[in-house]
């Protein structure tokens, strides 16, 4: 469902991610753990392109969300002028590709310098697979550490804003392309409101529909943030340390809601420091260290029989 291919992320000279690849299956719950600064939040933010990866590709349901990365396509590399030059200098096919990859020789920002064939191939990959970034994001719900509810909107408006705006935009696009319309804009609004109330009922906050987020407690805010993401009916949910900014007594209510979602089969990627929770809900645990996946496996494998010394060290500090 969600494919991460060889992601690198640099902030200036700082390398945060150094080649991360993973794949999230439908219905799978992946928990990412690791020390602060190991790149776990950055990895999550790269998944829905809030951070643009420096290299690498993100595929969502078979669609490419990032620009194509030439280093991931042998045929593109072979079409480049740099490759032609290296081969004419006597390097074998394998050595030339390796040298190009290792020394970062492709000028992917300037396809023209690598020849028209190279540029055409890159463009073809994008034309065949590329998807508008906003369309991709609509299928991914994101929950932030600091909630990020819209301060200028009521709780209900927070939940309905995106479904209404995007629903109306779709309607406009359909009208332009001459497709038959199955809804009026009013339908979209009333549907969104209905769904918002249902979601609020689910978390028991229906009486807070018309208040502003500033009047809610941290736990309530985070639960509203979660259902705001759910209102877009995403196929995968990304949780970025959802309980780290909460008072201890509110952690439980948020974890309960996430547990509920996961039980209903929601595909999820969760970055968290709650090890007990990670053990309980995860199908797979990823331990990140220094910008790479240092250990990966079932909760039992990672928590009870870690192989990587860094992972052992980390777990001995957090499990007490």
């Amino acid at each position: 469902m969600l494919d991460i291919k060889n992601i690198y992320k640099n902030f200036g000279d700082l390398q945060v991610l150094k080649g991360v690849s993973t794949h999230v299956e439908k219905g799978e719950v992946v928990v990412i753990i690791g020390v602060s600064g190991s790149g776990k939040s950055t990895l999550l933010r790269c998944m829905n392109l809030l951070e643009e990866p420096t290299y690498g590709e993100v595929w969502m349901e078979g669609k490419l969300m990032t620009p194509p990365d030439p280093y991931l396509h042998f045929d593109v590399i072979r079409a480049s002028r740099t490759y032609a030059r290296l081969v004419s200098e006597g390097l074998s096919d394998e050595d030339a590709i390796k040298k190009i990859k290792d020394d970062d020789l492709l000028k992917e920002k300037h396809p023209k310098t690598e020849g028209p064939e190279y540029a055409a191939l890159l463009k073809k990959i994008y034309d065949d697979n590329g998807i508008d970034i906003n369309l991709g994001r609509q299928k991914m719900g994101m929950v932030f550490q600091s909630f990020n509810l819209f301060n200028n909107k009521t709780v209900k408006e927070n939940i309905t804003l995106a479904p209404i705006k995007i629903g109306k935009q779709r309607l406009k696009d359909a009208k332009k392309s001459g497709k038959p319309l199955d809804k009026t804009p009013d339908d979209i609004v009333s549907e969104a409101n209905e769904k918002a109330m249902k979601l609020l009922e689910r978390i028991g906050l229906q009486d807070k529909a018309d208040v502003y987020p500033s009047t809610l407690s941290g736990g309530q805010r985070q639960r509203v943030a979660i259902i705001r993401a759910l209102a877009m009916e995403p196929d995968v949910m990304l949780f970025d340390e959802p309980t780290s900014a909460l008072d201890p007594e509110m952690v439980g209510e948020v974890l309960d809601l996430i547990r509920d979602l996961v039980k209903d089969g929601m595909t999820s990627v969760i970055v968290t420091h709650e090890m007990g929770f990670a053990k309980e809900v995860a199908d797979r645990v990823i331990f990140m260290h220094d910008g790479v996946i240092a250990e990966e496996g079932t909760p039992d494998e990672v928590f009870n029989h870690p192989k990587n010394p860094r992972c052992k060290d980390f777990l001995s500090k957090v499990l007490y």
Binding site: N134, N151, N152, I166, Y212, M232
Partner: protein, 225 residues
């Protein structure tokens, strides 16, 4: 006692010059400068955040020049230079060139206020909106700008009050606003102090009403959230 009788007499005789012409032109100039400043100022604030380096550079240069030189000097340059560039202006009264200068001046200040307002809105607000699949434009218009405007309302109000007072500099070119009215009536009556008091009270009344209006607007926006 003479003083107040003089004021009363002046008002009876010259009320049209002060109230109709003076306040009229002052309000007109202020409204044009404020509306134009708000409009072009917002555009300039957005231009400053754009990825186009040239656009950014031009806008930054305008802002620096406007902030770094006196308004009076800008008015002189405007009144003498604009008609050379745009020939139509040379056949029109000075007030057109004056209005253009005031718009440019206030745009520069407003753009800085709006930019700081946008930057003061937590980046998480934009990220949350984008993560839901909203476009940059929608996120800006429905989430970030409303919060930015709420935050900058006091500063914006200050700027508008400054603009009202800056229109007095236009009297250098005798365009008819309040300060021009003062010059005229003083010329007729030779009663300098009395005329100054009248004009002072009128300016104060204008800005006082404006600041009360802005206060009530601020309160209304604070009531929400």
């Amino acid at each position: 006692m003479d003083f107040f009788t003089n004021i009363a007499n002046i008002m009876v005789k010259y009320w049209k010059t002060f109230l109709l012409q003076g306040i009229g032109y002052t309000l007109l100039l202020s409204l044009i400068a404020v509306a134009g400043g708000a409009f072009f100022g917002s555009l300039m604030a957005l231009a400053k955040r754009s990825k186009l380096k040239i656009l950014k550079g031009i806008v930054n240069a305008i802002v620096e020049v406007v902030r770094g030189t006196p308004v009076l000097l800008q008015l002189y340059i405007g009144v003498f230079v604009f008609p050379m560039i745009v020939p139509v202006l040379s056949s029109l009264p000075y007030i057109y060139s004056v209005a253009i200068v005031l718009i440019i001046n206030s745009s520069a200040y407003v753009s800085e206020i709006i930019r700081s307002g946008i930057e003061a809105v937590d980046i998480g607000q934009m990220e949350a909106a984008r993560s839901l699949g909203l476009t940059q434009r929608t996120a800006m218009l429905s989430i970030v700008l409303p919060q930015a405007i709420k935050n900058i309302l006091p500063a914006l109000g200050n700027e508008f009050i400054m603009v009202v007072k800056e229109t007095s500099l236009a009297s250098t070119f005798f365009v008819g606003e309040l300060m021009t009215a003062y010059l005229k009536v003083k010329g007729y009556t030779y009663l300098t102090m009395e005329c100054l008091v009248i004009v002072g009270v009128l300016y104060f009344a204008l800005t006082f009403i404006l600041s009360k209006l802005l206060k009530s607007m601020e309160r209304r926006m604070k009531a929400r959230a």
